[in-house]
Symmetry: C2
């Protein structure tokens, strides 16, 4: 029986046999005061998918693309560490580590546990992946980190101390204050910052800083941060020791030719001194590894053993095996003061004309899918908890895992190869399919409500993941025969909520009843041919077969749903039809020159020029906002690299000219009007279609764009942008969110930290937008919220722009080696990818916009979840629970608090995260301390224990705070007053306070069900 | 303390822990009767120098040239074998293995010993390198094999069973019958044979044969031989598993994507069936590895574990870990009859127009140096033995090691990169320098003869390794002041011998006295300007400084030396000078048209045409041979590959046109005449110079050629050939030796084994020449003997040709990636390499030529060894032993026997090899059983024990013979009578019989010196 893994088990005995007379290297060096200490940190940077899929990387298949096998890294690492207790290694990506760990025998696991325990093997960063910092939403960042951190805690009883974001292409404030400080890291390290910034920092010895990234949380959430002087690799080309690397090995065998110890020691000492010269304290760190190295770990350790041995014999500097933890402890012990850094590290350029701002938008369909799945996962976990998590069987875990992987910095970023992007989508789809069943089962349980809990529910709920392409088989049923369609609308927010639901139907005469059987207002909108053709081709592309049912209408109605609960609507055939949206086609020729078309059934009116077929003005009668407003499309021509080999590509945005996109031929647009909403349909050009919706009850416009296939027959890559133009005096200033959370001020052609040399006036002003972008002047704020992460900017005063889609013809020479040229194939016929997305636009009086951005922003993130089933006749409400809230029916969460995690853990305990949505000074009413009554959040259960945890829930918050290192910041004037935070939760009151921007994480334990029944009886008696 | 090696020690315990539930593969399969058994033979082919030097390959430096680190192979192999006792590995190249072994702790060595003992790790082939089979001399092949085999025996007490010549470019008869059968191998395996031959063998299932390569020894020295159906790699591109290889791994983890076990099992089974279809018996062997693989052995074994597991689960074929030994035992057990193969496998073409016959000549200077060192090593070992081998201090071991390495099939073959060729030369030079001191010390001991043995001899003997470029500082001393030059002439042959010695001197008036003080005949020849300029530039190139002494003459005299002994000659200033060679320059214009110039002071006369300045006729008055004979130079234009990407290169000879080389301008030659020899100096063209010597006492002509720098300014590579043209009716037939031993009949454009399709009428008829080449007709035989290995042929009847030098401009696409363009630099000024070499030519009556070829051939191999010292005055003989023979003074070896090894082993025992020089039926007188009296070979010692060994001296011959497998040969008619062999040595008589072509190897033990003294006393008393 082959059993290579058990190898490791007995290796521990090896530690006894140090008395060999051969090849004995003294690697025992610790820190030596007064010398330059070179901390050698062995590591492997293992992308959780990039040129190969995560599994291909793990098992080492598809090596013709990239020689990478993480299984080899870990297989070979363990014996190498066991062989010498001084050797160290850090491992980062839990997606790989878990794959490997699951395959190991108990004996090997025990060996590894000892290695982790002794600090030889340190698990750092500790999320499933090294997430991107531009494209992921902070909730996804938290989730994927939690998934990794809790696994590490369970398996090893340790908590990672180090943030290790060495590769992401820019660094977000949220990464610093939330995903580092709030997680309990002592140190955040990364490598990629703007080349101009780095040059200045090298010059001023400011590569290591205290990063205070949150205005609201200030020094209470700051993190000591190190920036590599170059990259995350060895200090020069001379120190790579992979099998196959070409650095000179240390040849110390005098019996052989080419003995080179003196030369190699000199190389080492020179590199150390060079780095020490730009570093504060006498500790420097060498990242000994790079992408997918240590596939035979022995090769690296053998050389490092020799270096440590001979360099320390030489004595000019001191070399030691180390980890970032050892490094940062040494830094801390030095009691130095450090420069302060605020805000973030966006955008990133690695050299002139190479701004990594293209990936903010790259693969917009994947980015959209990720956001949709993220929201679905949040809702599905709630429903999974309500139903009760199965120990076996279906769960949301597979979706959790897929979502975690796709946060990787070459995943949702859009910078992977096409087949890898497909792999992520496939994983999401598989995860979704399982979660969908969990959701359906939970809703069935809840609707079939029984005192005995959920036993074999019979209702078969279906859902519509392809609703965005107008494809929803459950709603596309013929109701004329008397069947009704039951629509259960679930609201994952902690607030009561109303929203318009739109579903495709085939019948014209349908009626919508609420859960009480009352007919409610509804509106039919014709499904126009542009949508239909997209529906038909894309549903065929996704499903591999064409559909034979063709809906004719969108049925719209308003749903009102309690917090963390659902409401039910019944759609059935009726003689009286719903309101038809009037259809009106406006031709240029028929409109007089000053003709103005007003759109919008409520307070908000959009005024269009009939002649120009364009938006002209935004008027809200309620808020008295009345602004000139234009909206248009342009494209940037993607540079082909012919000038200086720097094309625009998956990573890099390198525009080469701005081209307006004007409607071709006769201008026309179509307006659909109705009681609930008006729609303005515009064909912008043959490959851009736009629908603008103005709802009666909403004070924003919703713009749905359909972009693609972007033509590249002319050999020119194009990056499609929508521009919103007002006459606001925005003074170069605009604001973009950090990973969906804090808004950061951006000033065009300006950086706070250094004197910017502007060489890319467009690309260099792009920032990631996850939640939204806004600008303001003295009177008003113009805000745009997005449905996925995109890149955005304000290239001219009064104007905001979003890059919606990119199709390029050249690779940008950052390794992916593919042009970003997404296609979709229907039966072998392929064409460029068309994407559909939305953004939301609103103008508020200055100072009043945060409410919409924050509260509606949360609604965009967490839309209603729709589930469909059919019934014969009309008696659903008789046999089913039609409306439900998990919370106390009298209770809703405060407007400034969102429930961002509600999840039953394997242990049966519940993970709860509450997030204050407002920054300090953002809103007069809502930027205040808020509180949540846990008893009312869980009215049906009796809380036995609430433990406040750190953000990733792998340690108690109090323990984390106690361990936190306190760093000195240069210049006392930069010290802030201590940030406001919610008090500890009183175990009796169980009220959670939340200060602005605070996120608090709890593990909640309940009394058992038996106890709960008893409790219920007592409660009744007490009443 | 880092101690990666001790890792392995405790791994043995691992074998206990097979109960892991994870990744358990059943690799325990043995042979299954009735199924196709796929013997997976894991191996790494580790060239002992090729693109990198041996040490670079070992430590893994210079990886930019080739990713290869043998240390990694062996480091990673041991744990992989320990992890699963079913896994096997064969290791071949002892040069690497010894480097590694020396570095291991005793614990690791013990583990490895157990692996070797259990057969998991099998050491096969077992020489220091996998020697080439074309360029090495059989004595070198024996020596390098012995060095490896004895080390293996000492360390592991095992004897390799398998000849594994997988890479050499053609296979010699000597490899089969001597280096395989006589070594005791059970099987010889290789991969490279002519593509036409292979096609036929595949078709006829004759890839496995009984190879009976020696006419003389017949079935007593035959070897079962396997030829790979393709190469020495896995059966298809799909089965390579190095880190970085791109074959699909077996993905058997159902939790991950891309599970592919069924596909991979199908791949395996298909490949197995395909090979089984062309193989006899149901055993097939897969060579699982290739050049420098298993740098992380785990990667291969992990995949092979899976294949064995799943393929055997599938059941269509049976896969097992195996070795060639297991394979051949299975073949043997099948009791099959096998085809018979005779002769050899030269030349080798891997495809049309790609004859690997260029390397027979590539790097002629290196080939010459190797031959010179080989002979020196033979002599030096004798002298080392006479002196007594030191346990510490100087020895011939370093030269032994260097010579062993350079026998590698990319070393003396000339197919390595230039820097690697330089490395071999450097090693030879270092080895020589040490051996030179051993020789000097031994001669000093012997000449300062004392009863007390050799204690601190004072004589400082110098030697002249650069005599070939007329550079010999010890002889270039001014004798006019009264000093004498003592020349000790050592004869390593077992025969008494006379030969002309030539040394440069600066004085004109010198006299030579023999050891008795008698003036002997000598001759001064002027050192002509062509030699001088070469001397000056090359001595500067080699020594890094120019010489300031300039000799004016060659002093020639005849030395007569006893067997295994020396004689002494004293050269001193004299009023009477030696005979001056008359100098006579013959100009074309001064010669009448029928002018004939006769050259030669003895029986042999060469007749030249004065007008044409060319050889015309060969006359020997003693043998009555009188033949028309011409000699000329041509060059082949090396194909540049423009037709079909197959240029002429280091490996491949691909001529593109034949161009005669005629003297340019006015024809002239110079004749030097004297009593001992005549010299004919001819400048053939600006880069070819030739001296033909005819000695008074010799019946052959000696041709010394100086070729180079071959001009390539015209962009054309040139391969320079000398042609000897007679009017003999040679009938397409000629004979070339096999590795310096048996002569094999060659027929132009014909192969015995298949119907040759001729596409390269020149290159395809080239054969390696180590000893000589000859042709014959009814009346005479024309023989040429060479001083190093070269390529030769007979492209036209009556003509023989030798390729002397090659300089090419293109690489031939076989991996070396350099054009064979050797240069020599003097202070940064480089030009093409000039070589000096000799060949010897003689025409005998038919049937009488073997004596010269064999006996003089041995003299060419083992020239006199000259040592010089100075003395004041003329009293050397008074204080020194002037003449010496190690043998009984009344004894010489028979004319048909050579002593090819006489070497003191570390143990103090002596290794003796005696070789019968004649084949059966080669010479009427000498192709007979001969005998050697050991007592007379060692007259001064008392033999206590003589043990006859196999050829490589790692086992007793009797044991070897007992183990020998007896194979059945197809067709009874092919059975021969048992070959004649010498009888076992009677321990009392101590006479060794040798049958034709027999080589017998003995380990001889002597009574101790104390005993010897006693013995001597008794002997004296008995007298």
């Amino acid at each position: 029986m082959a059993n290579q893994v058990c190898l490791v088990v007995v290796l521990f005995l090896c530690l006894l046999c140090v008395e060999s007379k051969y090849m004995m290297y003294n690697t025992s060096a610790g820190i030596v005061p007064g010398k330059i200490n070179v901390h050698l940190v062995p590591h492997s940077h293992d992308d959780v998918g990039w040129l190969k899929t995560v599994d291909q990387y793990y098992v080492g298949s598809n090596n013709s693309i990239q020689v990478a096998c993480v299984q080899n890294v870990l297989d070979s690492l363990i014996p190498a560490l066991v062989a010498d207790k001084n050797r160290k290694f850090i491992y980062v990506e839990q997606a790989f580590f878990q794959r490997w760990w699951r395959d190991q025998s108990e004996e090997v696991q025990n060996v590894v546990k000892q290695l982790v325990n002794s600090g030889q093997l340190e698990l750092i960063n500790g999320g499933m992946c090294m997430h991107d910092e531009a494209a992921p939403h902070y909730i996804d960042m938290i989730d994927q980190t939690t998934l990794g951190h809790r696994y590490i805690k369970e398996q090893f009883n340790v908590t990672p101390r180090i943030g290790w974001q060495i590769d992401p292409f820019g660094h977000s404030a949220v990464q610093a204050y939330l995903l580092s400080a709030e997680v309990g890291f002592d140190f955040l390290f990364f490598a990629r910052i703007d080349y101009q910034d780095r040059a200045k920092r090298i010059n001023e010895k400011t590569l290591e800083v205290v990063w205070r990234a949150s205005k609201s949380l200030g020094s209470s959430a700051q993190i000591m941060t190190g920036i590599s002087p170059k990259n995350y690799e060895p200090p020069s080309d001379n120190f790579y020791f992979e099998v196959g690397d070409t650095s000179p090995i240390v040849q110390d065998d005098m019996n052989l030719f080419d003995y080179n110890v003196p030369e190699r020691v000199n190389d080492f000492v020179s590199a150390a001194i060079a780095q020490a010269n730009i570093t504060r304290t006498n500790h420097i760190m060498w990242t000994m590894g790079t992408d997918f190295k240590y596939q035979y770990a022995h090769t690296w350790f053998r050389q490092m053993d020799k270096f440590i041995h001979y360099v320390n014999q030489d004595g000019r500097v001191n070399a030691l095996y180390s980890t970032p933890s050892m490094y940062i402890d040494a830094k801390y012990a030095a009691n130095e003061s450090w420069p302060l850094k605020t805000d973030d590290f966006f955008p990133y350029a690695d050299r002139e004309n190479a701004y990594w701002t293209g990936y903010f938008t790259s693969r917009p369909a994947l980015k959209g899918y990720v956001r949709t799945m993220s929201a679905y996962y949040l809702a599905a976990r709630q429903l999974e908890f309500f139903k009760g998590r199965n120990e076996v069987g279906l769960s949301t875990d597979s979706l959790a895992d897929a979502l975690a992987l796709v946060q990787h910095h070459d995943a949702v970023s859009g910078t992977e190869k096409q087949h890898v992007a497909d792999d992520y989508a496939k994983r999401l789809s598989i995860g979704y399919t399982e979660a969908e069943k969990v959701v359906a089962a939970s809703l069935a349980c809840l609707t079939e409500f029984s005192k005995n809990g959920c036993v074999n529910p019979i209702t078969n709920f279906q859902q519509c993941p392809l609703l965005n392409i107008s494809y929803c088989p459950p709603s596309e049923v013929d109701l004329s025969s008397g069947k009704s369609l039951v629509v259960v609308v679930y609201n994952p927010l902690g607030w009561k909520r109303e929203d318009i639901i739109r579903i495709p139907v085939i019948n014209e005469n349908v009626t919508v009843k609420d859960s009480k059987g009352k007919v409610i207002e509804s509106q039919l909108l014709p499904l126009l041919k542009d949508s239909m053709s997209l529906r038909n081709s894309y549903s065929t592309a996704y499903l591999g077969k064409s559909t034979n049912v063709t809906p004719s209408y969108w049925l719209a109605f308003s749903a009102s749903v309690p917090p963390l609960g659902f409401n039910t609507y019944i759609i059935s055939s009726a003689k009286q039809a719903a309101s038809h949206s009037g259809m009106r086609t406006v031709y240029k020729s028929q409109i007089s020159q000053n003709d103005t078309i007003e759109v919008g059934p409520g307070n908000l009116k959009l005024l269009y020029s009939g002649k120009r077929a364009k938006l002209m003005r935004y008027i809200n009668s309620k808020t008295s906002v009345n602004k000139l407003l234009e909206q248009s499309y342009i494209y940037y021509r993607g540079d082909d690299g012919s000038k200086d080999l720097q094309p625009s590509g998956a990573y890099i945005f390198r525009p080469n000219g701005t081209y307006p996109i004007e409607p071709e031929g006769q201008l026309s647009f179509t307006i659909l009007r109705g009681p609930l909403l008006d729609e303005v349909h515009q064909r912008i050009n043959p490959w851009i279609y736009q629908v603008t919706r103005v709802y009666k009850g909403k004070d924003h416009a919703e713009i749905e764009f359909t972009v693609g296939p972007i033509p590249i027959d002319d050999g020119i890559g194009k990056e499609v942008v929508t521009q919103i133009t007002s006459n606001m005096i925005s003074n170069k200033t605009f604001y973009t969110d950090s990973s969906g959370r804090d808004f950061i001020e951006r000033i065009r052609d300006y950086r706070k930290d250094w004197n910017l040399e502007v060489n890319q006036p467009i690309a260099g002003n792009y920032y990631p937008v996850n939640l939204g972008i806004y600008m303001k002047d003295n009177s008003s704020e113009l805000s745009i919220l997005v449905d996925r992460s995109v890149g955005g900017s304000s290239i001219a005063d009064g104007q905001l722009e979003l890059m919606l889609h990119r199709r390029l013809v050249a690779d940008d020479n950052r390794g992916v080696s593919e042009a970003l040229n997404e296609t979709v194939c229907v039966f072998d016929k392929c064409e460029g990818l068309t994407i559909i997305g939305k953004y939301y636009l609103r103008i508020d009086p200055v100072g009043e916009a945060a409410k919409w951005r924050r509260s509606f922003g949360q609604e965009i993130y967490s839309p209603f979840l729709l589930a469909f089933t059919e019934q014969d006749g009309d008696h659903w409400a008789n046999s089913h629970l039609a409306t439900y809230s998990a919370m106390d029916t009298t209770y809703v969460l405060p407007d400034n608090v969102a429930l961002i995690t509600l999840q039953e853990l394997d242990s049966g305990k519940v993970l709860l995260r509450l997030a204050h949505l407002y920054e300090i000074e953002e809103d007069t009413d809502l930027s205040v301390m808020s509180s949540v009554e846990l008893k009312k959040v869980f009215p049906k259960k009796k809380i036995s224990k609430v433990t406040e945890m750190n953000l990733s829930a792998n340690q108690e918050r109090a323990v984390m705070e106690k361990k936190r290192l306190v760093w000195r910041v240069e210049g006392s004037s930069k010290e802030q007053p201590t940030a406001v935070r919610g008090s500890p939760v009183d175990p009796a009151k169980l009220v959670v306070e939340l200060a602005p921007m605070e996120i608090r994480t709890f593990v909640i334990e309940f009394y058992s069900e038996r106890y709960e029944m008893l409790y219920e009886l007592i409660s009744i008696r007490e009443c």
